[in-house]
Symmetry: C3
Subunit: 130 residues, 3 copies
């Protein structure tokens, strides 16, 4: 990374309209991720979508050789039934982070980028290489 420049991780070369992540000295900011499968299909349940969202985030963090354990903060944007979103989050968060979860802010939103999605997770991680 050149001094004083943001480095973007954008394997799609700008065609998505956003990079998947950026790296600045010390921090990696990942775009809000949703729960799609590698074939772009989307499971109906929010719990399955959360697992996939974290898997997709980890796939992006792989680019920087960091893991979800390096999460600095996360914001969970949920559509629809918030008690169900919380229940799913409590379950999936424990699977992903065990007894050392990162900070989290969970709020209900009116819509995400595609009506199939019930949750989108935005993660900021520590760049351990910095």
């Amino acid at each position: 990374m050149a001094a004083g420049r943001v480095e973007y991780h954008d394997p799609f070369g700008g065609t998505l309209g956003f990079a998947l992540a950026s790296r600045t000295p010390g921090l990696i900011h990942v775009s809000g991720m949703t729960g799609f499968e590698p074939d772009m299909s989307v499971p109906e349940g929010i719990e399955a979508q959360m697992r996939l969202a974290y898997r997709n985030i980890q796939g992006i963090l792989d680019h920087y050789s960091v893991t979800l354990v390096d999460t600095v903060e996360q914001v969970v944007f949920a559509v629809g039934d918030i008690p169900a979103a919380l229940e799913a989050f409590n379950l999936v968060s424990r699977e992903i982070f065990g007894d050392t979860p990162p900070p989290c802010t969970l709020v209900g939103v009116t819509a995400l980028v595609d009506p199939r999605y019930k949750v989108e997770i935005k993660v900021t991680a520590l760049d351990r290489a910095a």
Copy 2:
């Protein structure tokens, strides 16, 4: 803090599903906080909830020996009547920050983690010890 690791402030040992805050070199990220009393009761009005949310955030920042004056940015998520939320914010923000308020983004959301809450505030602060 070990080099290259995120330090979490989680007095509940993971049982909440999220840490109250994280520290990375230079920044403290606090989980979105709501306006509950020490006995976990929640006042009805948004103005009272905002004061308590800031008090709860300050309680977390105490762990790092920093104060709300060290706020780098804040996002205010409000449910319901947004003009009323703005009016309350203008009042409480002046009480808390005086003439030197930090940046703020205030948006309306569909729901917070508990239907009693009308506002949740997410603060990022500077770790002056860094």
Copy 3:
């Protein structure tokens, strides 16, 4: 900037209730910006509002001699028709960022600070002077 202090950019001296931006070592956090003209009028369409929001953000970044090219991450809060917001974003993002867009999270919210606004954009930028 004194060591260990947040520096606020607040040409209104606290009267708005929030600063336009803050600078900490390495990062500039800009308050969520909406699409108003210099005379404070607001165009009706979301596409025009987005262009103005980015122009207003750039006006704030000017204070730090950085540009939107230094964007680390952005969150786009949209009211109303999300497919229309996405279509506008894809167009305006390309105008602003070309083939190297930053990360982005776009979510639908119930309301912004003024009912005329259809979009608010929150940008974090790299402080190249750090």
